[in-house]
Symmetry: C2
Subunit: 341 residues, 2 copies
DNA sequence: TTGAAAGCGCTACCAG
DNA sequence: CTGGTAGCGCTTTCAA
């Protein structure tokens, strides 16, 4: 049987209370400290987290809700979040709801039943409203990543999607592009709405007309984008540049472009999103809007830990982070008719 | 405060013992069942898992150790395993050790400290031996996926790697190929060893000479493969076909091939591994060695649940599953000199 | 700084 | 089938 603090107490001739206090960071006499340390070592003592949790009512577990396991952005963020939380003694329980609303609610109930101390959630295909009563009633803090339902007010960490796209589109416009295709996510998602707004803003700022046909729905997915881009490229839309609004869509677009045999940047300029995995090896090096992954992860953990400690701000925090831009060789300067006049 | 079984007992005028028995699947009188159900409903009672765990010493949590979050095979398996385990009331704590041995041991200690009931582990870059004493001393079952250290004997679920590759190589040989490149993982890993053996076996069975230069180390990674394949293709190795031994390497190879502008299958026949995500949209449709993902996940969960229930077989189970082959349009029939005679 | 004791909520034993 | 009860291992008063 595993050693308990009782064993330590007996061995050291100290009381349970003293041992408990010590292992929770309390101060004891130096000689007692020595004795306790030794006893812990000899007996191979480890705190029984169940008992501790029963008393403190905290599990030191954080639930994470993701739309899909293989979404690159999620994977990247989770890697970092997991590492950071582990340093603070928190484990993560990750559940994938495969975009199914019913499963989503079920998953959150499951997480709550596992007594997670907090929940971190990525935007899912469905509204998360259904499960929030559950978490609020249990006082479980929820931190949203990359967007949340419009009519809610929770802690959220996201990038400045609007400006990210706006800057990229402006960049293209300044290089002479006027017909810029954009592969965006489903317009039901907040981030897609913001990204689209960035596109519009850039165009209006440069007083250029918008052709709605240039706005392609890539469903935030590689396969959908692949089909959509292939179709768009073989149509008579005549765009000279293409912008993709997340990693998966960037990959889908690149595959489609390469397959058709259109050369980047000579025949088509391209700006991608999220410099992960594949974008790092594709040639020519794609110009990419980058998200500050590490910073996002840090903020998420930071807010969560503060909430758990009960010393977060009173009102929900919406953290907006600026995106970066990694210049590659995928954008060509062109001279449109109107400008060459 | 949340309701406890004590509240239920009071409300129903039954004893704690009866309530406990009922919520654990025991049988009570129909009218008591009704009363209990109603009380549970009204009070919004939920079992306190901490208290339960303290008593039963089981957390209903399974730890999963992965090499990297974005390895497609892992993601695919975990998705399924997580769903299955959840159906049985188990949650998973996933930790990524980023191929770092020290982190790996630390992670397992962490998982043990979280009192996971079992551990499922993918092959990591380092030997897992260091942490096994920990798990065995705590009687925590460990199930390996896709390989384990050679000198150990644990439950393991893996595919028949040797035959998978052997069949594919034989297939190519029968189509007339003699110079078949193979992009394999690091030879330190069991699966890579087996896959290589398959390559050798196919060649020897057809009495063809092996050129070791055709064996490329892709490190099970996209970027390494990309560089290696690019180099190989621009050398004078003259292979007519290329076989890749996992998903990431398949993608890396395809990107390299496309970039150089070699056409599949006219100039090079290709057989990939694991029909996931990208391989499903790349044209031409790649012929692929497929792993029975669902079946693998089922077996893993099956063994784990049996071990947890204490009714698994006495000896470690090594489960070997057959791979499949999905024929695409990436292999061309050729006639080598020797055959055309 | 230390200790005694209560009790977190549940399960499992045994008796009825 | 039901109930009384001990106790899992820990934290946390409160008093010394």
């Amino acid at each position: 049987m595993a050693a308990t603090i009782k064993d330590i107490a007996e061995k050291t001739n100290l009381s349970l209370a003293t041992i408990s206090k010590y292992i929770n960071g309390g101060v004891v006499l130096p000689k007692n400290k020595l004795a306790i340390d030794q006893a812990i070592d000899e007996l191979g003592f480890r705190v029984n987290e169940f008992a501790r949790s029963l008393k403190t009512n905290r599990s030191k577990l954080i639930g994470i809700l993701i739309p899909q396991w293989h979404v690159a952005f999620c994977a990247q963020i989770i890697t970092q979040v997991e590492g950071l939380l582990r340093q603070h003694g928190y484990g993560i329980i990750v559940c994938d709801c495969s975009g199914d609303e019913a499963v989503g609610v079920q998953v959150v109930e499951f997480l709550v039943s596992k007594s997670v101390d907090g929940i971190i959630t990525f935007p899912t295909a469905f509204s998360v409203k259904d499960y929030l009563p559950l978490t609020t009633s249990k006082n479980i803090p929820v931190v949203f990543i990359d967007g949340m339902p419009r009519d809610l007010s929770y802690d959220c960490v996201m990038v400045d999607n609007m400006n990210a796209i706006k800057k990229a589109v402006s960049y293209l416009i300044k290089k002479g592009h006027e017909r810029i295709g954009v592969v965006n996510g489903p317009i039901t998602s907040l981030s897609a709405q913001e990204r689209l707004a960035g596109y519009y803003n850039a165009y209006s700022e440069h007083s250029l007309p918008i052709d709605a046909n240039l706005i392609i729905d890539g469903g935030y997915a590689t396969d959908i984008t692949y089909e959509a881009v292939k179709k768009a490229l073989t149509s008579d839309l005549n765009f000279t540049a293409l912008l993709t609004a997340n990693y998966e869509m960037t990959i889908g677009a690149i595959i489609a472009i390469n397959e058709i045999g259109i050369s980047i940047p000579d025949e088509l300029s391209v700006i991608g999103f999220d410099d992960l995995q594949l974008t790092q090896i594709i040639k020519p090096r794609i110009s990419i809007i980058t998200q500050p992954m590490e910073c996002i992860a840090n903020m998420i953990v930071d807010i969560m830990l503060k909430r758990l400690a009960g010393n977060g701000p009173d009102s929900p925090q919406i953290i907006r982070l600026e995106t970066g831009f990694s210049e590659g060789a995928s954008v060509k300067e062109i001279y449109s008719e109107s400008r060459s006049l």
